[in-house]
Symmetry: C2
Subunit: 336 residues, 2 copies
DNA sequence: CTGAAAGCGCTTACAG
DNA sequence: CTGAAAGCGCTTACAG
């Protein structure tokens, strides 16, 4: 049996009230003498307050839930790490929840987190539509911060990437190096982020007076095989000199196909990605890409949430991070 | 305010005891009629038991802690995923804890998990030495399962990889293809797992009557740059035809150096890794390696822990998984 | 089949 | 400066 506040009160010859006060650093109404006496006793007896009991009365558990599709996906594991680091530094713990973008699983997690009385939730949810559960939580003013996947028409604090801007940077970089026949491998267009990246690509084209050609756009799936399939199709369009892949995995797929055709990257064809996976500076040639600051997103979102919990912030805030261009060796100047 | 068992009792016109019984599926002493009446009420009013209050009295929180060095490391994120999947299926939640192998951080997490009354802990701890906290927990019979990093001289249930066997398989594969001048890039030899892999390499050599030559063994750091440095050194030994890198990251480092020297993999030099990272079948040539079943390790360890918690298992059990050879394109027969 | 009561380990008005 | 008491939302003997 762990030792409780009662044991301590008995040992110190004071009431549990007094113990509670000093354990919580609430020394205002406690004499220096008793305070010190209790403090050494706490230390000697190894007293640790029971957070469950405390949570029951304070209604704060110092626990938050993190809902993501899959921790074993590099992007989300970085988010998880960032969120956990921030939470830990503020003495919160985080429940890890993997939904696989499955609405039913997500619903179950939300219910479990509710029963376990988490103080707030960090939510990178299913892509399609808005869940009623989330709308309900917002309705109830439950502390919530959205990560990466914006929910249309609903005002909740969140931290997002400016995907349009990132894609714009990628495409514009290609254009500035003389490319004009630039293909785009998109993510699945049911995904808002994928659409935004396509939009950024189009915008860069337009701003540089390059005609948009839908034949040069192939829809992928954000995975290696999708990149391979798209690249195969694209290679039929002989004029292409560069491709913007909407994520690094698809860029790797494109690499595979290009290498198998004995074409050289970047001299014969330039590739730029999006994400900056750990692998991207290992693969040859090292991939020029747009870095998504996943760790920072996780950290920031946790900071926003805990600030709300601790009343350091109350108004809704949307943070939009600007991804940056990372220049490596997969893009070269277009030879005239 | 969420609705409580009292509200429900009032609404149903029964005692909280009866509500408690049906909510917990303990129908034995409840009439069919009241049971059904309560069940529809639970549903209509959306009653959800407060797990915190329940935990306080039952002393079971249906929560476990997962202590790992870093979720953003692919190996551990797969473990985390496996553990979480198993836990979720059994209606447990998991607290994520990243220690960065920092003993102090670990200590703090252990204290926090204790205060939050987790039912058990999954522990992939700091490599060096044994922590007093863990010894204490074992002493107290606190439910504990060790993952991946065996603690010497202490009997606790755990799931491990047979690193010796894995390294043996890798080296033996090289030998069977005619290689006899095989280098080894090890992990840091302060790490038990790194030592085991070196031992497996030596054992394979011995079993095939190949003399062990310490000049062909370079100590790395389990990272890309360590693989690069080691490979640079090894290339001075002209006789080498193959190298066993103790993990995939160092194999990638070796690739970098070999490619920069314009040597061909595998015809001029064969490489085999250990881990089977996501990148290993993307990089060119695709890396032949030893697969560590990280997801399964996580899943199994959670299963062991929860079995202990639910009294389905009581004796200590050590599970040792045998890693398997994954043949791809980075190893070729030695030309005579 | 059902309920009154005690209790889990805390915190928090309130009183002195 | 200190403490008695109520209460957080449950479960669990115990009694009937």
């Amino acid at each position: 049996m762990a030792i409780t506040i009662k044991d301590l009160a008995k040992a110190a010859g004071v009431s549990v009230t007094t113990i509670s006060r000093v354990v919580n650093g609430n020394y205002s109404g406690v004499s220096e003498e008793t305070k010190n006496r209790i403090l050494v006793l706490v230390n000697n007896m190894g007293y640790k307050p029971n957070a469950i009991a405390r949570g029951l009365v304070t209604r704060r558990t110092k626990t938050i839930g993190l809902i993501i599709p899959d921790v074993s996906n590099e992007f989300f594991s970085s988010i998880a790490r960032g969120a956990e680091d921030e939470a830990n530094g503020r003495e919160y713990n985080v429940f890890l929840c993997n939904t696989d973008e499955d609405v039913f699983k997500e619903k179950q997690y939300l219910a479990a987190l509710n029963e376990k009385c988490v103080d707030g939730i960090l939510y990178a949810g299913t892509v399609k539509g808005k869940s009623n559960e989330i709308l309900n939580l917002k309705e109830k003013q439950f502390p919530l911060v959205i990560i990466d996947r914006q929910i249309e028409d609903i005002e909740i604090s969140g931290v997002f990437i400016d995907n349009i801007e990132g894609a714009y940077k990628a495409t514009n970089y290609l254009i500035k190096l003389g490319h004009s026949n630039i293909a785009c491998i998109t993510g699945p267009l049911s995904d808002r982020n994928a659409c935004d990246r396509l939009e950024g690509y189009k915008k860069a084209l337009k701003d540089n007076s390059i005609a948009y050609d839908s034949l040069k756009v192939m829809e992928g799936n954000f995975k290696v095989d999708g990149g391979m399939n798209a690249m195969k199709e694209l290679l039929r369009i002989e004029k292409i000199s560069a491709v913007f892949a909407s994520n690094d995995l698809m860029a790797y797929g494109a690499y595979k196909i290009i290498k198998s055709r004995k074409m050289h990257i970047p001299t014969e064809i330039s590739i730029i990605g999006f994400d900056d996976n750990a692998l991207s500076d290992i693969i040859e040639p090292e991939l020029t890409t747009i870095r998504q600051p996943a760790y920072e997103m996780g950290k920031l979102s946790a900071r926003m949430l805990i600030d709300i919990l601790e009343k350091k912030s109350s108004h809704k805030v949307i943070t939009r991070l600007i991804p940056e261009l990372v220049i490596r060796n997969s893009v070269s100047e277009k030879k005239l």
